[in-house]
């Protein structure tokens, strides 16, 4: 097996998710824990998928490469070029994973195999393509060097436990790059790391995106991180997209009260700030989503309509989508939600 990808799909620079729906069995029957999610990953851009626990952000990302629980029912489309990966079949998905779309997981200490050397793990996918052991090891050393691991030629023989957390995450990224993918799905890649290390990993991801022309999907709950690395943002709440648009625009002037609350809740390090007025309650449970707008029980501006009518995600301004009944109003008044 050559492991090569059909030439046709090479031309496509965009990975498109359309109306993705993931249904899981819950305590009270089947529930759509991801409900109609659509967005694009564009070449050379980082898309941030942001949300809290239960928002469905990780499930969405994993479903794009077929990594969902056995009990899940997935519908919609994940389009790689013209090919729908959701109907492509397991063999094809296995082929796509690592060569077209790679995943970087949150915790590199559990994602890496503790009994294999770093070099063998990074080189595994190359070996499967027919490279010899020494060729694969050489290429692995190049990749480790590419992601900023010093003395890579020797470190290929090290085991994961001999690496620090930050170095392990770099190795994980090298592993993700080994198959030459164009799309990287990174699920909370820096959450388990210290701040000083986090900054360096984020720099690395940004550099790879620019140098290797990758598209990146960054899944995170950390708005600070997002604001520095994401070009586009998809904000999820209770399994649905509540806002989408250019990252700076969304954070600068949110068109959904949930995004607005998130932005306000981030404590500032470099400027003195008071503790934000918190939202009441907890993030909605996707298995028990409130009627109408799922955010309505916590929303400062909820009205009767919000409790009955599900707001559609629609374009409010060029490139800006929101699923708030009052988004047009907010856009016109150039004020997101009534301040207090």
């Amino acid at each position: 097996m050559s492991g090569r990808v059909p030439a046709g799909s090479r031309s496509a620079g965009t990975l498109r998710v359309r109306e993705l729906r993931i249904t899981l069995p819950g305590p009270r029957g089947m529930a759509d824990v991801v409900d109609g999610v659509s967005f694009d990953m564009v070449e050379g851009r980082t898309t941030g998928l942001i949300g809290e626990s239960g928002s469905g952000k990780s499930l969405t990302a994993m479903a794009m490469v077929g990594l969902v629980p056995e009990t899940a029912v997935v519908s919609g489309q994940v389009l790689l070029g013209d090919e729908d990966l959701l109907t492509a079949g397991r063999a094809r998905i296995r082929q796509v994973r690592g060569t077209e779309i790679s995943v970087v997981f949150q915790d590199p200490s559990t994602a890496l195999n503790p009994t294999m050397t770093i070099g063998d793990q990074v080189g595994e996918i190359l070996r499967s393509r027919g490279l010899s052991r020494s060729q694969a090891r050489e290429r692995a050393a190049d990749l480790l060097e590419h992601v900023g691991i010093p003395d890579a030629a020797n470190r290929v023989r090290a085991y994961p436990h001999e690496f620090s957390g930050g170095m392990r995450q770099r190795a994980m990224i090298a592993l993700a790059l080994a198959g030459g993918p164009r799309f990287i799905l990174a699920d909370e890649p820096t959450t388990a790391l210290d701040v000083t290390v986090q900054a360096r990993i984020l720099d690395l991801l940004g550099r790879l995106r620019d140098e290797d022309h990758l598209s990146m999907l960054l899944v995170s709950h950390d708005l600070r991180v997002m604001s520095h690395v994401a070009d586009d943002l998809v904000v999820m709440y209770a399994g649905r997209v509540c806002e989408r648009g250019g990252a700076k625009a969304v954070l600068n002037r949110p068109l959904h009260p949930y995004t607005d609350a998130l932005v306000r809740s981030v404590p500032s390090v470099h400027v003195e700030s008071a503790i934000a007025d918190p939202l009441p309650g907890s993030p909605a449970n996707p298995f028990d989503r409130p009627a109408g707008c799922p955010f309505n029980p916590r929303c400062p501006r909820a009205e009767d309509r919000c409790r009955t009518e599900v707001p559609a995600l629609r374009e409010i301004a060029p490139g800006r989508l929101s699923a708030c009944h009052f988004a047009e109003l907010a856009e016109r008044t150039s004020d997101t939600v009534p301040r207090n």
Partner: protein, 274 residues
């Protein structure tokens, strides 16, 4: 400071047995997790302890509440030593309560919120509120009162952790910590595991409890933004050593130590410039 009130940690050193030099039989090299750290928390004062993973900040907290034994140094509260306590003197630690990072694992999954909270009164009968150990109705009233202080409804009393959200669990942990009317609250990454939109709720709660009960606080976190919002003074740790300690304004505006500067420059703020 010369008065003995509050928490006083002097030259605290904690070592853990490290890995063995050779397989199963080699000699262990001890690892010094905390190296001669001196730190005071005055009454009514909130001191934030910051540093990266492995810097020893949680070890200090654990030593203060007696979960690890220091190899050198002293820990005093209001002038009384907290080290080498005989079992009958353990009450001296009652003044100090701790809240942990992961509220779900910090609570016994088999106990209702009410049982978790009132367990403290069984362990320390002499400071339990009047009659709560014998009179069921009084106990229930005291639990409901504590729950109300942390913003929870009375019906939470009968629920187990699995039936509660992360934020609610952390509130129950705080109620449990307050059950013995402590004077120092140690918060070890108490809001780190919570959802962003819930963090501010719990922070506000901690601050309001601190004011209402005039508590001292030792606030351990890696989130410098939170530190700036709640702390009076900040102590920065690195590799088991205290590298800098200053009032919050000074530390953020004029850090003295290189490592503090590095931490501050690595910490990014929300960037909303278009």
């Amino acid at each position: 400071m010369t008065d003995a009130a509050g928490l006083r940690i002097t030259d605290l050193t904690v070592t853990y047995p490290g890995p063995r030099a050779a397989g199963l039989v080699g000699r262990r090299t001890p690892i010094t997790a905390v190296d001669a750290v001196s730190l005071d928390v005055a009454p009514d004062e909130t001191v934030a302890l910051v540093g990266e993973s492995g810097s020893g900040k949680s070890t200090i907290a654990r030593a203060v509440v007696g979960l690890v034994a220091p190899s050198a140094g002293s820990i005093e509260f209001d002038g009384a030593s907290l080290l080498n306590l005989r079992p009958r003197d353990q009450w001296a630690r009652r003044n100090i309560a701790m809240i942990f990072q992961d509220p779900r694992s910090a609570l016994n999954p088999r106990l209702s919120a009410a049982a978790s909270i009132s367990e403290a009164w069984e362990a320390h009968p002499d400071v339990a509120p009047e009659g709560v150990r014998r009179d069921q109705r009084r106990r229930r009233a005291a639990v409901v009162d504590l729950l109300a202080q942390v913003g929870l409804d009375p019906d939470v009393a009968g629920k187990r952790p699995t039936a509660l959200s992360g934020g609610q669990c952390q509130r129950v942990s705080i109620a449990r910590a307050l059950a013995l009317s402590p004077r120092l609250l140690i918060c070890d990454e108490a809001v780190s595991a919570l959802d962003v939109s819930v963090q501010a709720q719990v922070l506000k709660l901690l601050v309001s409890v601190r004011e209402a009960r005039s508590l001292s606080m030792l606030f351990i976190t890696h989130d410098l933004g939170v530190v700036r919002q709640v702390a009076d003074r900040v102590a920065v740790m690195r590799h088991g050593e205290l590298v800098e300690s200053a009032d919050v304004h000074t530390l953020f505006t004029a850090p003295q130590h290189d490592y503090t500067r590095e931490l501050l420059s690595a910490a990014v703020d929300l960037d909303v410039r278009s």
